[in-house]
Symmetry: C2
Subunit: 254 residues, 2 copies
């Protein structure tokens, strides 16, 4: 690289140049990037440097390497699955995003004590006993997998016999139970994003995923949070939509 003065590392210069060539179409989506050996010759760098440049592109999500085959330019991949996050009701029946998913495995319930973010979102101290029900949801048309966890404090479950007997019911079923028990429900969705752990990638079957969207949905009664749902999806494959309107401004609760 003809750059002796600036302090930009060589591998970043190579990466930047390759990124530009991908952007302008020199290397087309789906095509093979030059092999490490070829990059060594072309840019007069060592193999570790060529590898570092490719690693940079991988981290940016521009390319994908396959052992024994080569490094491919990733196709610009817009998230395809749209998750409408609005909740609707018709009479006593609630509808939410879980309607578009199938359960591939039986839900797995455990008893936990809340802590950390869970406690914060439920506005409870740490150590409150609760049911935790984990599910793997699958979108049948695309194969997208999502992780769903529902956390139901014992306090909430105790009010409602049906809920206590079957905490592993689906969220919309629980909404209906809470509603018929006299609660006026509203929700707060809390949306974050984070890097997947290797475990996340395995359970979501998304080995190349780069970011996860995490939606915490808190179901509120009139005075306090009643349950917490957490939905985790691959941000490369799915995105969220929220239809909404302007509400009349009102004095906020403390």
């Amino acid at each position: 690289m003809a750059d002796e003065i600036t302090r930009t590392p060589i591998y970043q210069q190579v990466a930047a140049r390759l990124a530009q060539e991908i952007a302008n179409g020199t290397y087309e989506p789906g095509s093979l990037l030059p092999s490490e050996t070829q990059l060594m010759e072309r840019y007069s760098v060592s193999r570790p440097t060529a590898r570092a440049a490719i690693a940079e592109l991988r981290q940016l999500g521009l390319v994908e390497s396959q052992h024994g085959k080569g490094t491919f330019v990733r196709r610009a991949t817009e998230p395809t699955v749209t998750l409408d996050q609005s909740i609707t009701r018709t009479g006593k029946t609630f509808h939410a995003y879980d309607r578009q998913f199938q359960e591939t495995e039986a839900p797995h319930g455990t008893r936990i004590h809340t802590k950390g973010t869970t406690s914060t979102l439920l506005q409870e101290p740490d150590g409150v006993p609760a049911f935790a029900i984990d599910r793997i949801l699958t979108d049948p048309t695309t194969g997208l997998r999502a992780l769903h966890r529902a956390v139901i404090p014992f306090d909430t479950a105790q009010e409602i016999p049906d809920l206590q007997a079957h905490p592993e019911a689906g969220p919309t079923t629980i909404y209906a139970q809470l509603s018929t028990a006299g609660h006026t429900l509203h929700w707060t969705d809390d949306i974050r994003a984070r890097i997947p752990t290797p475990d996340d990638r395995a359970t979501l079957h998304a080995p190349t995923s780069s970011c996860l969207l995490v939606v915490h949905r808190i179901t509120h009664g009139a005075d306090r949070p009643l349950m917490l749902e957490t939905l985790t999806i691959d941000a490369d494959q799915a995105h969220l939509t929220y239809p909404h309107t302007a509400a009349r401004a009102q004095p906020r609760r403390a």
Copy 2:
């Protein structure tokens, strides 16, 4: 590493072990991880292997390296800034998240032709002429920076003299203008997450950021999309909240 049989790479074994020791508190948040030289001795590996292990932890967001000082265990960092994404109005005045931000620089307007995701979200073909107004917003209490881009098709601007004269007005101002022009407004937020480019990191002043949250907000009139806003923030520092209630289920527009 006493592992001659399994095919797990050594650097991943070291990384997994360090990750566990970080999780169980052997290495406390904020403390210094053993240096590369120490890791070489402790695990009987070479420097590149020790470095690869640390790189793995960096990618998982568990540690942060500082040139000349060492590698530190990152404090478990919950996003601190909460962006309430609801829109409220009092009379003719609209309020949105932009109320909690300051503009550090003057907005930068250009004329563009829509393409790609922008066209899709505006439900227009590619090549439609539009104003694009870019802003850098700053939360004064925390220093969080956010990127904001408003895309206003000429079709929308032409209806409204004030808007055409000053397309660089803030979103809530534009909502008011559209509303007084007779439009009944509603919004659809489209939420995605992606890895930051080096440019993103620079403009957001978030060199260690791992994921970005991207919110596309489409302002709809009665029949068609009127404008598109895009808000980009560091997911490590901020999260979004959407308060909502169950709407009556209604037949959907095609």
